[in-house]
Symmetry: C2
Subunit: 315 residues, 2 copies
């Protein structure tokens, strides 16, 4: 398998992308090659200090970089030789099997939605975020901002996509799906959750356990937490801020340290045809290692094949 990495993406690129790629390949299991996309001279310079076996990687030179604050659609269109544009060209044409970048999030989203097809039957792709729990496991919150406004059928699909991700990537045998709500009882909620509840309850593809209140989001009560992207985004960023506060207060607690979302790197865009992982701008080597690992696991488990099967129209 051939996983492409945008070497220029993220605040600490290309040093940290090179370090991450080198560290991953040094003890990588299985038949994996990396395609390193970016400024060839810079990449080679960093490879001197962080060498990678020659048969494990290819460099694809990209003469341009899309900056973190450029307009996504405009930049992608005008900078055809940027690392992100090339990454999507390689992925769309089948020359690589997955694409990872911690660069301009908007450009990565535009590329994902327009260069890569949506899985047939999926109304809207989604992005999830991890919710670390005290028992060491990671729950998945979907959506965390891609879809600010949602309809019940969107949340129902996020539940399916999130469950498959939780099963094959987060290793939950039969992931429990919870609907984030303002009360536990059925019938509580806003218009969206009241209309979504019966859809989730009737969905035989998921293990729906009911409503989950805010107080249970960081507990291992549900493994997949479904909500609209506006609320999910607020929840994710609030959880992130707890880590920042704990550091300012000089805490060093194993659990609160796991609220450092930087270490996880990023999560894939769920619902599109190929593995695309969008990383945090502040990603360091560890984040890139984690993202390459997830991409490899998505390919090894054929997660996208499983997702496609889930949305095949039975008629």
């Amino acid at each position: 398998m051939n996983i492409a990495l945008d070497m220029m993406g993220g605040d600490f690129a290309p040093l940290e992308t090179v370090k991450g790629a080198a560290a991953y390949l040094t003890d990588s299991p299985g038949d994996i090659r990396l395609t390193l996309i970016g400024d060839e001279a810079q990449i080679k310079a960093h490879l001197m200090n962080h060498p990678i076996p020659a048969d494990k990687f290819t460099i694809v030179h990209a003469a341009e970089v899309i900056g973190m604050h450029e307009h996504p659609t405009k930049a992608l269109k005008e900078k055809q030789n940027s690392s992100i544009a090339i990454g999507f060209q390689l992925l769309a044409s089948g020359k690589t099997d997955a694409f990872i970048s911690a660069g301009n999030t908007g450009a990565m989203m535009v590329g994902s939605l327009f260069s890569i097809k949506t899985i047939e039957g999926v109304i809207r792709p989604t992005i999830g975020g991890y919710m670390p729990r005290e028992d060491g496991s990671l729950g998945l919150l979907v959506d965390v901002g891609l879809n600010a406004d949602c309809k019940p059928e969107h949340l129902n699909q996020f539940a399916i996509l999130g469950s498959l991700y939780a099963k094959y990537i987060l290793n939950f045998e039969n992931p429990k799906v919870g609907l984030i709500n303002l009360g536990e009882e059925e019938g509580k909620g806003n218009l969206l959750t009241k209309a979504t509840y019966p859809l989730l309850a009737a969905n035989s593809q998921i293990n729906f356990i009911g409503n989950i209140e805010g107080r249970d989001i960081l507990l291992p009560k549900a493994d997949v937490l479904v909500c609209n992207g506006y609320t999910g985004n607020v929840v994710l960023k609030l959880a992130e801020s707890i880590y920042d506060i704990s550091k300012r207060r000089q805490m060093d607690d194993a659990y609160f340290n796991r609220l450092n979302f930087e270490q996880y790197g990023g999560v894939p865009v769920l619902g599109i045809d190929k593995p695309v992982i969008i990383g945090h701008g502040i990603s360091h080597a560890l984040a890139f290692i984690n993202m390459i690992r997830i991409a490899q696991r998505m390919l090894e488990t054929d997660l996208l094949g499983k997702m496609k099967e889930s949305f095949v129209d039975p008629s």
Copy 2:
């Protein structure tokens, strides 16, 4: 002023309500009388151990109690001699000036909305929650669940009500109002926040500072945080759970301890004609002390007069 307290409300009543009332009156400033509503024999028994000067209180006997899990509307209708029903009768008739209870939340809501009038011009009353910040101050999040679905004009009114509360009760000179959103830039958001932003920006009664992301909710960036009740409820309960986690992990940090929402007691229903404060079921004496203090301050500052002025139609 005469503040009524439901002595039977809350998991630890009437012992903790008596302790709270006694402690408050022992060093209460100003001309305040408490009306203690509940089972007279039980109240008197506890007063033996926690005495209150005789000129500072009146007991009003209530032969019934509405349980924490009773159906609110049904219970209020059928139990006319319950402490909550009597509390609203006294308040509505002007025999008392404020009413505090940590009893059945639903019954308190029904009483607030149906026994007490909504301020003229207010479309929907709201309930806020405190957001403790590291600098020791408390921000106010509105709404935290009373209005699961909101329209832009609701949020605009919550901003006004919340600002007045923040000014007169939380002591902010010119409280900064933030709109909880998934990005800082104007134009970001879901349909609700995009439509609400211009209303807040054009509202000369508030000090609107723009969008506030989840990561800034616990920072002193905005003093009044406006959002729909569904999201606000999730945020409040998530913040509450952080305290629980910190205790399970045997932390004893001054800031994380302030995320113990129990100590604040409760917040008033904003937008109704008289001061009604609904407490947490698990309230102890400290929570009752805090709620009586807020009620007294609401009366001393004539907060409700200020709110009524804000909604006077200028035409």
